[in-house]
Symmetry: D2
């Protein structure tokens, strides 16, 4: 993470000031407010603002006049019930605003989640910083040989060194040329909106991103998943920790009913019932394709 002294001072100033409010306050998240959580080599996630807490979920579900309920324990029970039965609207009543610094190729995946509000740093107006994501050696994965989308073993030795050399040199050169095109001594300089096209997808951008808790959990379910690309998963994992600090009861329900949950298809349930009745079921007798059976067995193993 590379914050300038000025940026660090602004964050420290924001963290040092408190005000009075009549609104509900989530103590766990107040402690983390504005703080930049490092992700990848130059990225971060930080919470800028939030609305609501666990009790606000319950309050909305009950359309109530007052602020909370009697017992935190009852709230947790209702929250679990709502999560289990896909009653999503009460979770939409909580909102969070993040400031995220992330490589462009990660931003391109992230933006596909449409139910959020976004303000991105503009490369039409402004000049981007010289910051590029260069993977740590342990994340330099080879193409999977069994899965078009996946990663295989980690590259090593000369091949790894060559990849890192290319990424670093190309980034440096691209940025040198970006700067050169923007302004050359006694020349006009290319328009910013054009010059940026020379920059590779590992350059960092940043945005303000605001989303409600229901849609955030949907994002986290997909992006904190083992199938997500490592470079976005680490952002999702950092956000998970912040959500846990914000709405602990909702996050616990999310872990049980989403992150840790397994869905079985109709045919899968038929097999499961046969197995519980003592029958030995194989792929051949399961009625499932090989791919489905492999996933079924993996789900049972956990």
């Amino acid at each position: 993470m590379s914050l300038t002294a000025e940026q660090q001072a602004e964050i420290a100033r924001s963290r040092s000031e408190t005000r009075e409010t009549r609104r509900v306050v989530a103590e766990g998240l107040e402690a983390r407010l504005y703080e930049a959580v490092p992700v990848l080599d130059h990225g971060f996630v930080r919470v800028i603002d939030y609305m609501g807490d666990d009790a606000a979920i319950v309050q909305a579900a009950r359309v109530s006049y007052g602020q909370g309920t009697k017992a935190a324990r009852d709230d947790a029970g209702l929250i679990r019930y709502l999560m289990r039965h896909w009653h999503s609207t009460p979770f939409e009543m909580c909102e969070i605003k993040l400031h995220v610094k992330l490589p462009v190729f990660v931003a391109r995946q992230w933006i596909r989640h449409r139910t959020a509000n976004v303000n991105e740093y503009s490369a039409r107006y402004s000049i981007l910083d010289r910051e590029f994501y260069i993977p740590a050696p342990e994340n330099l994965a080879a193409q999977s040989t069994v899965n078009n989308q996946g990663r295989g073993a980690v590259l090593e030795g000369a091949e790894a060194a060559e990849v890192l050399r290319i990424l670093k040199e190309d980034s440096t050169r691209a940025y040198d040329h970006y700067e050169a095109m923007l302004a050359q001594d006694d020349q006009q300089g290319l328009a910013r909106e054009l010059a940026r096209m020379n920059l590779p997808a590992n350059i960092y951008t940043q945005w303000y991103w605001k989303i409600d808790l229901h849609n955030l959990m949907h994002f986290l379910r997909l992006r904190a998943d083992a199938h997500a690309q490592y470079e976005i998963r680490v952002y999702a994992e950092a956000i998970c920790e912040l959500v846990k600090a914000w709405v602990p009861a909702a996050y616990a329900a999310f872990e049980d009913y989403r992150l840790g949950a397994v869905q079985f298809s109709g045919p899968g349930m038929a097999c499961l019932r046969r197995m519980l009745a003592g029958e030995t079921v194989t792929q051949e007798t399961s009625g499932m394709s090989k791919g489905e059976w492999r996933e079924f067995e993996a789900a049972l193993k956990g």
Copy 2:
């Protein structure tokens, strides 16, 4: 407005408690928090929570590290620029949550705005209160004779009395029958989700409604407009006052560039330019249909 003593006590309790927060605070709206603003005969609007203030709009537009800017005056200028040029995403960075009590026929119009989060009091789970909207005599408008959608003069005398009698008697009877169907002494009682079908559209419902500032202003532009039905317009007007207290600079820009703005079509602009050059333009020479010309003249008169 008909709040029970218990509801009033819950609201008073919420208003009396303050907490410390590191988040930005909108002083103007803090003063109005939780308070029920009366609308129509039994309805209300009250703010349950909010996120952001005028400075947060600017902060998002700049994707900045710190909290505010130096001068409120500069903020207002940027906000006016953003509003004028339809840069809507910074306004999406503010969010408000309202508790609204409103007649069902108003709720049916309101819900058509899809970019909001809603939790409505459920008539499947719960029993609705005996509260119906009965128009004040001055709002008992006749059908317009020139406009299918509009209202004409106010009904008077025997006709007005008869309408009020019908509305009151039918509401009372419908609710009596609703109660009777729900539970009759030694009988089972009809399911709530069925019994409610006997209730007319002037019964009150309530919901939590959460929306970002950009989409709220879009709602207000349509619903605070003179063409909106009176019964939803009074809610929009009450919300306008709350928005003014919340984000005064954004609201001022909204008044200038949305509520008070006029749009001229391409053909309308052509006429306008001819008129500014001294020409007298009539409907016949305008190239506009009679309806368009009537609206054009009305817009110029203001």
Copy 3:
């Protein structure tokens, strides 16, 4: 279902005309186009238009240049894979437009699904028809005694008769008064937008409703479910048949991976693994609440 002779003639005329198109055609749905499928006592669902077919899902997933793929069998396999792994965007590439006639209290549930386009018949401009939903005797359910939201046994005898009498009489009277308020001989008549407030929630309305296949399946999963209110479930079931005719491969995958699927929580999976290993697990040793355990057992039984 109560279509006028004129409406039936318009539908017949639409069905009788064919045109040439270069677009993909779903033969199964062409056969059903425009036809009104009866639902409840006066309601219906009919398909007005559609875009795409099973092959279009595959085509979008592959971002391909041509229209289809070689083998329908391969398409079905890919569609199953996409559905199983929650790759929802290819399903969004199919779209359907329905004309639905439905009671207002059903419309109020339906409209909560926000990711659709809607044009509803306007009671501000127009006068509603005299058509009310009166449940068939076998659907006159009592309030559940174990579940706030549910239905219990069917009402019988005098109680049932009384409920039906109330619903019919109140509907008739409300509509008589609606008409009376709208126009009385030598009087002006109340504005339509006001008079409608006297009409109960079992009056029929109608709308055009357009939605993509992914969001439609989400709607169907919730509304064709056993927990949905009967009066909306019958619409969902009618639509399921139309979707089956339209995109048979996608519908089959939807049945296996959504309608017939079961999700187990993290704690549920832990129990399941113990059970498969031969252990007898009870609620007490499960780590689940009574409610969760009851649902867990029900899911295993199917």
Copy 4:
């Protein structure tokens, strides 16, 4: 535009086949179906499918049983009325699906329009083609000296030559290295999802993009505007021509009431009325800021 012979053959095959349908058909767009309209040096836009026509807008506005209306002239009048009064839902009843090939930096602007369905060619699964956007010399604009966001004069001579040399060389080298990292002889090759990060923002990607007519016109209003970046504007202009062929009446209304329309603020209207009354108004007496006044004068001049 660089379509392979195979791609051209697939397009020709799609265009050559016709089928029977009962759906409405837009003759003007049928003629353009599947055809690739060239944009920029290697990009294109082509229509894959559509739903509805001008009559379908009217039909939805009226929630009608039949297919069309008597007179095309009446339809056009109603469409103009709907457009003028911001009745947007009937326009949402038409839908179009496009296949677009575009540089990544254009795709990043485009995707900000959230109310569309998208399937993008995946650089996690697949290998991107060696195709980069290199501006034509006449589009090699300098940074504006008066506007952070804008373009100034066109670069010329040595400076232009140097910019083109950089863009071409860096693109070529980046792609060479991309290929080298993916697979090197007896080495494993870097995962595709990682290797792509070396590719600059002028590489071409492609997607299927589906949107309703209302949201499409919103996109076109912003992106066919003179303030939009040239490289996205040319796509918007190509789409405008397709929309004109599809729904000519709606497009004509869109031209008059959106593309060619001008909005005046409240203060602007006050000035306008004074000017029409014969008064000479200057910036000093206008009550507007310099920026607003400049825009006001420009709007009057047209």
